[in-house]
């Protein structure tokens, strides 16, 4: 009996490379749009969390706690299987963008909130004492400093988001993991399929993670 990594299985994979390429491109698109959504939601809800208005704080907490404390798979299932019962049919690509976007938006909201709160109160006071308004102080003084602190954890979120797009495979998401799965469940060549897929995710995530490491070291030096 041939082993899981027999040569002919690799040849079959190379023959069908376009299947993996298609999934890879879908994963990149999904990640890019998902990350854009996550950043938008994260910055908005993160700033709500730093507000002194109780209602804003509450909105931040509800979003963050609800999303962070339920599995991404269930959120995706809700979007894919649940919403149609309410008459909302979303294309699976949109389900993917919404799913990972909303999910990681909650984590990014916490990153942003922590970043803003890590800027000493004296910075806001100095800005106020010079005649800045709240928003002027935020834009020119507080957020630029919060940004520097937030970059490394934000990059980690981007890495996690890319990996988590693989959850879409469970609803035939058309991305890399789905294609790898469906290709290999036809011919049972799981070994090469998953190794190559893993390497493709690595090729996206590792540069990002190293970038985060570099940023972190740079921050240590400058502070």
């Amino acid at each position: 009996m041939p082993g899981p990594f027999a040569g002919f299985k690799w040849l079959a994979l190379i023959n069908d490379w376009s299947v993996f390429a298609e999934g890879f491109v879908q994963t990149i698109l999904l990640s890019a749009l998902g990350l854009t959504l996550a950043l938008g939601l994260g910055i908005f809800f993160g700033l709500l969390g730093t507000s002194h208005v109780k209602l804003f704080k509450l909105l931040n907490r509800v979003y963050v706690e609800f999303i962070q404390n339920t599995p991404l798979v269930i959120q995706i299932f809700f979007l894919y299987h649940g919403l149609p019962h309410l008459g909302i049919m979303l294309p699976v690509f949109v389900v993917g963008v919404l799913g990972v976007g909303v999910y990681h938006g909650a984590y990014i909201a916490e990153v942003i909130r922590a970043g803003v709160e890590s800027v000493p109160r004296g910075q806001l006071e100095a800005a106020y004492s010079q005649g800045f308004s709240y928003w002027g102080a935020m834009i020119h003084i507080v957020l630029p400093q919060a940004k520097r602190i937030s970059y490394p954890p934000l990059t980690n979120q981007a890495v996690n988001l890319i990996k988590n797009t693989s959850v879409l495979a469970m609803v035939a998401g058309g991305e890399l993991m789905y294609h790898a799965d469906s290709w290999s469940s036809n011919n049972l060549y799981y070994g090469p399929s998953y190794v190559v897929t893993g390497l493709l995710y690595l090729s996206l995530c590792f540069p990002l993670a190293s970038f985060a490491k570099r940023m972190e070291r740079k921050l240590e030096v400058s502070s």
Partner: protein
């Protein structure tokens, strides 16, 4: 220039300012002294509304800043503050620290703000540090930059909230020298400090606070030679060794 009338301030159940009345004339140098927790920092922070008085009225340059909808950001443009922790903007260079608010808030041209900024840096002896970042400076240098930053707003009033309390002893003098030099001008100064030498040298009026009230006010001569209150005497005897 500054009129404080019947000001009370509560932090929750804590009554930190109790019926404070105080007048600071234009050009006057007022030094506020007193033990920790006496409310002196809270009082000076009320003068630019970093703290909002619970009751009472504060009028700065004819504007009641305690009124609802008072134009407080406008008033703050001419009431500069120097903080205990310097609070320079760490992501900006020294010169940018000086020009940021004048260009963004007072809409002064960048060239003009830089030119006057460099002149003020020269005055505090740090012109060569214009392109450095705050983290590259010593505490004393940072505080001198903070004073230059305040000056570049061309304020009519300068508030100093314990400007030397966070400094190493050997750096205190360089900051005090700058402040003494500044006091020779017509600018109105309110200084919360533990530096009695500074109070003696520049104050027109010394205010002694304890337990949220002004216990005693008077000229430095009265104050350091002939204080009325036992509490003042006790404080001075402990601090002037």
């Amino acid at each position: 220039m500054i009129k404080v009338q019947g000001v009370n301030k509560f932090f929750g159940p804590l009554h930190v300012l109790k019926d404070i009345n105080l007048n600071v004339d234009s050009g006057e140098k007022v030094v506020v002294i007193g033990p920790s927790g006496s409310g002196k920092s809270t009082l000076i922070r009320c003068m630019n509304l970093l703290e909002t008085p619970s009751t009472g009225q504060i009028v700065v340059d004819g504007v009641d800043i305690t009124a609802p909808k008072a134009p407080i950001t406008k008033v703050r443009e001419s009431v500069a503050m120097v903080f205990q922790q310097f609070n320079l903007y760490p992501h900006k260079t020294v010169l940018e620290n000086l020009t940021l608010a004048p260009t963004l808030i007072k809409k002064i041209s960048r060239d003009e703000a830089s030119e006057s900024g460099l002149a003020f840096l020269e005055r505090v002896g740090l012109r060569e540090k214009a392109d450095a970042y705050p983290a590259q400076l010593s505490g004393g240098q940072q505080q001198r930059v903070a004073i230059a930053r305040a000056l570049n707003m061309r304020p009519t009033v300068m508030l100093f909230d314990e400007p030397t309390s966070a400094l190493d002893p050997e750096m205190i003098q360089e900051v005090l020298d700058v402040m003494v030099d500044l006091a020779k001008e017509g600018i109105t100064m309110v200084v919360v400090t533990h530096e009695m030498g500074f109070a003696k040298q520049v104050a027109d009026q010394v205010i002694f606070m304890d337990g949220g009230t002004i216990l005693e006010k008077g000229s430095p001569e009265h104050f350091f030679t002939n204080p009325e209150h036992d509490r003042t005497k006790l404080f001075l005897s402990r601090i002037l060794r």
